[in-house]
């Protein structure tokens, strides 16, 4: 019980410090600490799958994404287009936000006592999917449409980010040129960590069938393991005009839709798995989706191509 109070207080303290920080870099460093603490909070809420995702995406990829932006924006004095609100206005905004938080808190306190839950239904139908992990079962079978739409959203995000390429830069290698600092330690890490990370990612993907784990967490780790050598300047990202790159990013959702349509033909319902075939089909989708989303997440963090001035 004390641990929960301590954890909650620590998260709130880091969150407040993060938005009040003077320098953007400090705010992002605090945000990474916030991501780490949040994944511990998810463990206390006994949602281990979400803890894995929050650790991989919240603390890892989001932090590195914002750090990259801080580095590229640090070189120019950022002229604030609109001046910060005055003291009175800030207090007013503070009160309004406190009201929103209080209202949400009241909702939490007034939740219906026999908490409505779909757990029994999931438990009843899980054996049909042949999976042991209920969250993976929901993701891949009962709510497979959400997962399909989500992988499509990731694909769309890649298209949108690439569409921000300044003219003349189209087709080039994505992302700004990484400064080759000749940092010994970074090069060391960029050579040692990726192989380990790939083994961990495969382990988490495979274990995801019966225990917390799964494809999004594995994809985030794989993306991180590609970004590390890119940051160290060891690996030049492929040109976005490269056909195989576009194919890899698109193959995940395409395979998912194809299997969904096949289900519609044979079983009469989109995304329905023929009985007995659920497990192998889900496995195929998971593996293809992991590779596709890993590449997509990495490309999202790398960003659009930036032509040298």
């Amino acid at each position: 019980m004390i641990a929960d109070l301590l954890l909650a207080a620590a998260i709130l303290a880091v969150a407040v410090a993060s938005i009040l920080a003077r320098r953007t870099f400090t705010a992002v460093a605090l945000f990474i600490a916030y991501g780490l603490l949040l994944s511990l909070a998810w463990v206390r809420l006994s949602a281990i799958d979400v803890a894995l995702t929050e650790a991989a995406i919240g603390a890892g990829l989001s932090g590195v994404l914002l750090l990259g932006a801080v580095r590229r924006l640090a070189s120019r004095a950022e002229a604030p287009a609109n001046p910060p609100p005055g003291a009175a206005m800030t207090v007013l905004i503070g009160i309004a936000c406190a009201c929103v938080a209080a209202a949400l808190g009241a909702v939490i306190l007034l939740l219906p006592e026999p908490a409505p839950s779909l757990a029994p239904q999931v438990a009843a139908n899980l054996p049909t999917t042949g999976l042991g992990n209920p969250v993976t079962g929901v993701l891949m079978s009962f709510r497979a449409l959400d997962t399909l739409l989500e992988s499509a959203v990731v694909l769309l995000a890649v298209i949108c980010v690439w569409s921000l390429t300044p003219d003349g830069g189209w087709g080039g290698a994505p992302g700004a040129a990484q400064p080759i600092l000749g940092d010994g330690p970074l090069l060391l890490l960029a050579r040692i960590l990726p192989p380990l990370g790939i083994v961990v990612a495969v382990h988490i993907l495979w274990v995801g069938k019966d225990a917390p784990g799964g494809k999004f967490q594995a994809a985030a780790i794989l993306a991180a393991m590609w970004l590390l050598p890119w940051m160290a300047g060891l690996v030049a990202p492929p040109r976005i005009a490269a056909r195989w790159l576009r194919l890899t990013v698109a193959v995940g959702p395409v395979v998912f839709i194809a299997i969904g349509l096949a289900g519609a033909v044979t079983e009469g319902a989109f995304l329905a798995y023929p009985p007995g075939w659920a497990m192998p089909l889900i496995l195929v989708i998971e593996i293809v989706l992991t590779a596709s989303i890993a590449v997509a997440l990495a490309l999202l963090v790398i960003g659009p191509p930036v032509p040298e001035p």
Partner: protein, 92 residues
């Protein structure tokens, strides 16, 4: 035995949260990075102890992911940190 591990997990977490003050207060940029890394390591240790106490092997996977990603984030932070001027606050 399990209670001992739970108490140990709580203690490790409490010390690491105390270390968090360095993140909030640390004048130099390097202090914040170090404190964030300590937070990562402490979180991993607390998770391992909690996992051993409640016999939940899945927590070791979370600790493994945290170890990988905390390393990744720490390196990114160390690389992006503004250079330290002569003793003063580094410019924005």
């Amino acid at each position: 035995m399990a209670e001992f591990l739970l108490v140990a997990a709580l203690l490790v977490f409490a010390t690491v949260v105390a270390g968090l003050l360095r993140v909030l207060r640390g004048p130099a940029v390097a202090d914040r990075i170090m404190a964030a890394q300590l937070l990562g390591t402490g979180g991993i240790a607390a998770l391992l102890l909690l996992g051993a106490a409640t016999a939940a092997p899945a927590l070791a996977d979370v600790a493994l992911t945290l170890a990988l990603l905390a390393a990744f984030a720490s390196v990114a932070m160390a690389r992006t940190a503004p250079r330290q001027e002569k003793g003063g606050e580094p410019r924005e």
